[in-house]
Amino acid sequence: MIVLMHQRDGTVHDGIRTSRFSLKGCIDCHAVKGADGKPVTIASGDHFCRTCHDYAAVRIDCFECHASRPESAGASAGSASFPGREHDGAALAQYLRSVGR
């Protein structure tokens, strides 16, 4: 939230729409595919944003308004799929290693 805050105002108030300023841009690339091969929504614990925010026990309300997955489901989803349902630190570290590789 703090990381994205200034970009948020830049987009909403000043109309700056480069991908750096775009939450939609984040979502488009960081979409995580679920079992059905389609990007998961925020309802899933595998969602990119939730993996860290759940771990830190922080509830985010971004996706009460924002779409939590790319519009054409599947089209631009990242190929990374979250390894396990267990949300422990090790799994998260493994996931981060996998996407960083």
């Binding site: 700056i16 729409r17 480069t18 841009g25 690339c29 308004c65 779409a67 631009s76 190929s79 590789r101």
Partner: protein
């Protein structure tokens, strides 16, 4: 695993960091070329069809990374005589674009744009027109908003910043055009470029996401493509723009102009 198919094609063999940077540049480039294309198509259509928006290439006017300025004032000119009875193409286009829809609760469902039928009670004469946020220069909704969530962008587009909207609905009390809706129910599957959520107020954004990428609002596009071509979008501040020329040359009406709101939406043949 790589960082995603899109990124991987853009910078095969790069490091994670480099990849992200390259991907960003690529997206920006993509966006720019897309906008050039969009502007070009608008221009080419504009030659034949009477009403099209951008006379000058808007992408050239502002880079995506630049702030909007008061140099522009976006507005609409709507020729009511071209609005066919019962036509609601602009309404459905807006619904499709922005994701609001009829959920069977007419009292509480949001309506960003609607068609009004106006009848003179003395002689029965009627006409129809689309009604939406009038993007006032002096918007009462902006004046009354306690947190400043209701705001006017430098280029005249009136928006709700849903990050700071507390859902008090005072703007709905203040708007003379009934342009705003309150979201009464939780929503899912919003459009990525049109965030909307329970407990906040919303209204026509003049398709700000489209305008920022050099496109015209969905309602205007739909009206031109599939209906009577009653709507013209453009920059009221640019004297060379089609809308500015017409607003100068033709007799136009603005709704409740007596309130001094200075709307950005002009009507013709009312």
């Amino acid at each position: 695993m790589s960082c995603g198919s899109k990124c991987a094609t853009g910078c095969a063999g790069g490091t994670g960091r480099g990849c992200a940077g390259a991907g960003r540049d690529r997206i920006d480039e993509e966006r720019r070329s897309f906008m050039r294309g969009a502007a070009a198509s608008v221009m080419s259509l504009g030659a034949g069809v009477t009403l099209y928006a951008f006379d000058a290439d808007p992408a050239a006017a502002r880079e995506p990374g630049e702030k909007v300025t008061a140099k522009n004032r976006w507005g609409l000119l709507i020729d009511v005589s071209k609005c066919a009875d019962g036509c609601s193409k602009c309404v459905t286009a807006c619904q499709d674009e922005n994701g609001w829809r009829d959920t069977g609760h007419p009292e509480t469902d949001a309506q960003w744009i609607r068609t009004l039928t106006v009848k003179n009670p003395n002689n029965g004469a009627t006409f129809s027109l689309p009604m939406m946020c009038q993007h006032c220069a002096n918007p009462p909704c902006v004046d009354v908003c306690p947190t400043g969530a209701s705001f006017k962008r430098a280029d005249g587009i009136v928006l709700v910043d849903k990050h700071t909207c507390i859902g008090c609905r005072y703007c709905m009390m203040a708007c003379p055009y009934k342009a705003r809706s309150f979201i009464h129910e939780p929503l899912q599957d919003q459009k990525p470029y049109a965030p909307r959520g329970k407990g906040t107020v919303e209204s026509c954004t003049l398709c700000v996401h489209r305008v920022d990428s050099g496109r015209i609002p969905a309602c205007v596009e739909a009206c031109n493509d599939t209906a009577g071509g009653a709507m013209l979008f453009g920059d009221l501040n640019d004297p060379s723009s089609e809308i500015a020329k017409r607003v100068t040359a033709l007799r136009t009406t603005r709704i409740r102009a007596d309130l001094g709101t200075d709307p950005g939406v002009y009507y013709r043949n009312i």
